[in-house]
């Protein structure tokens, strides 16, 4: 046996064995439930209700109630410029959104924003997680340093990147010019295309961490035996990754990706702090556009847009969950 580096790659984390849990826990519960079932049901129901109710009450009162109350504005004329008429408007607000010349831009921006953010986040996050499994000197410090962009607020990140990409006094232009990659300062935030690049880079900077943490955590749940078996079979690195590691953590991976998609979709903060949707309203995503409409005072239209967001994400999630589940069943 050679000295530890390769063998002790797994930190000695306390890790419940999945196999062990399933075998031991399930029969025990069934047995137990069979014997005392009847007297149990009433108490069990009361307990479920009791334990669930604080969470349900909080979310119902402070999240669902305002949302439902807010969504009724979507079907009314509700413009702060003139609140004397708040009559029922049917689907007029929705029509107004679809007819808006910005709607197309906003949709394609949102798609770009989500895809161009999430793919690098996932890939880099995955790579980081794989490499962070190895033990190396200062790993703890390294981990702490690269993890904490996640702890900074989106608005602040937006402002930070706006400052760095400032065309006159920004450090990015300065560095690029020192490296002779550009001859004169680029006005990053003045052009919709480069502005889009800036906000996506900012988002990648922020979001890689979440993937790295979640995947790193998931990787540590893959039992060593699985890898040992793969190694015995003579599987190469790539094969091990795609045929062992990824399938093993796919449920978690799929859920993390879904959650991130929803969050990124609903994440106006960075854009709000950098471009505010400009120039020429060409860097709006759906949620920043919604802020923009709210600031114009058209709450009816903004609410309609909000409902479209919820509906779209809901539809997407159902498809996504079905698709990933089916695949899961096959393997």
């Amino acid at each position: 046996m050679r000295a530890g580096t390769e063998l002790s790659e797994h930190p000695p984390v306390r890790r419940p064995s999945r196999k062990g849990r399933k075998e031991a826990a399930r029969p025990a519960r069934r047995q137990d439930g069979g014997r005392r079932k009847r007297e149990f049901t009433a108490r069990r129901g009361a307990m479920i209700a009791g334990f669930m109710s604080p969470a349900v009450i909080f979310v119902a009162v402070f999240t669902y109630y305002p949302m439902v109350a807010g969504s009724q504005m979507a079907f009314r004329h509700w413009d702060l410029a003139d609140l004397t008429d708040t009559s029922f408007a049917g689907l007029a607000n929705f029509k107004e959104i679809f007819d808006d010349p910005l709607w197309g831009t906003v949709l394609s921006n949102t798609a770009l924003w989500v895809v161009a953010s999430i793919v690098p986040q996932l890939v880099i996050g995955f790579a980081l997680a794989l490499w962070l499994r190895r033990r190396f000197r200062f790993r703890g410090l390294y981990q702490a340093l690269i993890f904490f962009p996640w702890a900074i607020s989106g608005f602040l990140i937006g402002v930070l990147f706006r400052w760095m990409f400032n065309s006159e006094f920004g450090v990015v232009n300065d560095l690029l010019m020192k490296a002779r990659l550009i001859d004169e300062p680029v006005a990053w935030l003045a052009d919709p295309h480069t502005a889009m690049v800036v906000i996506i880079v900012a988002n990648i900077w922020y979001g890689v961490t979440f993937f790295a943490i979640m995947i790193l955590a998931a990787l540590q749940s893959v039992p060593d035996e699985v890898y040992e078996a793969a190694a015995l079979d003579g599987a190469g690195k790539a094969r091990t990754l795609f045929q062992i590691t990824i399938p093993y953590i796919r449920t978690m991976l799929a859920l993390t990706v879904l959650l991130r998609i929803i969050w990124i979709f609903n994440f106006p903060d960075i854009i709000f702090g950098t471009t505010g949707g400009g120039p020429n309203n060409e860097t709006h995503i759906v949620t920043t556009w919604m802020i923009h409409i709210t600031q114009q005072g058209d709450y009816g239209k903004a609410s309609a847009l909000g409902l479209l967001v919820v509906a779209g994400l809901l539809l997407f999630s159902v498809f996504y969950l079905t698709a990933t589940r089916e695949k899961g069943a096959k393997s």
């Binding site: 702060l80 003139d82 609140l83 006094f169 003045a190």
Partner: protein
């Protein structure tokens, strides 16, 4: 031990949150608490307001004032939410661009009856009295000052470029700005406004070009009743304006709004800035340029030699939902006269509302001199009312700003823009009042 400490800390934190509620109720000795909301917030101004409020509270021991200062970018929205809820606001900042829709929604209280016989009226300038009363004789706010533009310029940079005088016309501005601009040194000519409210400067140059034919009661209208955007002078003005952006302004300024423009001048990177006197206070605090390096000049004229001063205003009003209207009006009165008003205007560099300011040496020297000069030549510097109180004015600026950016990005021709704007206002005037 450790755990007990944690529990104690949490308990303390909990108590602090519960007892942390301020401005709720108050002691039962008849003390009234007013909520006062400002919207053009900045830390220095908030300090001034706090001092004035302290003074007010000292004179009126039964009234407490709780000042609410939301971040500017979200202030209007927050105020609208508060007003819609019908409570939580007593005295508030009302601007010429918000008074139209807010009074229309029944959010503002008409103070005209409370203010009949108010001694403060006598101290106000003609402009101020006029701004305080709308066409139907109602008073929704008493102005605290006026915003009028002048040209801020760098004396050292213009001298370096071999010019002994600041530009007098838009033409000269473009010429000087392009002469000073040197991107390799990060030095730029003009702090251009391409972002929020870009349209206000576009209309300023258009009005200057068409100054001779403007309706003094409505800066967007010509004397023949058509819109100013339909005039041939308008397209000449736009051409000049685009040239100014391309040759004499930092490229990023396409996204600049108020803060970025002022920052661009205050940090020493641009030589010209067209702004409200409010900026004077900010510039005096600048560490990048000292007071000897800059001065102000009167507003820029068009080819006809005339300039148009688009006067904007804001003031203090009372919310209709207020439960303490008498006290709220009292606060408005306090802020609109005497020492309080003079201090507020001076500290924030506003064109004052008080007649007595004419004799004040403060306004005769330094950066203020150009405002006095403009006031003394009303035939050259026309004061024209802008249709800023139209209920659709917010909608208009949003649309117009977007169009200006489109034009600067080359996605809309100046002609399309003018046709569009002409059509917009023609339609609005046909349907509505104003």
């Amino acid at each position: 031990m450790k755990r007990r400490n944690a529990v104690a800390a949490l308990g303390l934190a909990l108590t602090m949150t519960v007892t942390g509620c301020s401005a709720m109720g108050g002691p039962g000795d008849g003390t009234v608490t007013l909520n006062m909301v400002e919207s053009l917030t900045n830390p220095a101004r908030t300090q001034v307001l706090k001092q004035l409020i302290a003074d007010f509270e000292k004179r009126n021991p039964k009234i407490k004032v709780n000042l609410v200062s939301p971040p500017t970018s979200q202030a209007d929205q927050k105020m609208q939410q508060m007003l819609q809820s019908g409570s939580g606001v007593d005295t508030l900042e009302v601007r010429d661009i918000t008074v139209g829709s807010w009074s229309n929604n029944g959010w503002l209280y008409d103070m005209s009856e409370d203010l009949t016989g108010w001694s403060g009226w006598r101290g106000l300038t003609e402009n101020a009295v006029e701004a305080a009363t709308d066409a139907k004789g109602r008073t929704y706010f008493v102005p605290y000052g006026f915003y009028g533009m002048s040209l801020f310029y760098r004396t050292d940079l213009t001298a370096e470029a071999g010019r002994d005088k600041p530009p007098r016309t838009w033409d000269e501005l473009v010429e000087q700005a392009s002469a000073i601009q040197d991107t390799s040194k990060r030095r730029y000519g003009y702090a251009f406004r391409g972002g929020p409210n870009a349209s206000s400067n576009v209309t300023a140059i258009i009005e200057a070009y068409a100054a001779d034919r403007l309706d003094p009661a409505n800066g967007y209208r010509l004397t023949d009743g058509r819109t100013v955007f339909s005039a041939p002078e308008a397209s000449a003005a736009l051409e000049k304006y685009v040239e100014l952006f391309k040759k004499g302004s930092p490229p990023s300024s396409i996204a600049w709004g108020y803060p970025e423009m002022v920052e661009g001048f205050a940090n020493g990177s641009t030589a010209f800035l067209l702004q409200d006197p409010e900026v004077i206070a900010t510039l005096r605090e600048s560490k990048a340029i000292d007071e000897k390096q800059w001065s102000t000049a009167p507003l820029l004229a068009g080819p006809g030699g005339k300039a148009v001063q688009p006067l904007a205003t804001a003031g203090w009003g009372v919310a209709r939902g207020s439960k303490h209207k008498a006290e709220a009006v009292k606060l408005v009165e306090f802020l609109s006269q005497g020492e309080a008003s003079a201090t507020f205007a001076k500290e924030n560099s506003l064109i004052p509302i008080l007649k007595q300011a004419d004799e004040d040496p403060f306004y005769r020297t330094g950066p203020w001199a150009s405002y006095v000069a403009m006031n003394q030549a009303p035939d050259t510097y026309l004061t024209v009312t802008q249709p800023r109180d139209a209920p659709w004015f917010t909608e208009w600026t949003q649309k117009a700003d977007a169009d200006v950016q489109k034009m600067l990005l080359g996605k809309m021709t100046p002609k399309r823009l003018l046709d569009d704007w002409d059509a917009y206002w023609t339609a609005k005037w046909k349907n509505g009042k104003s």
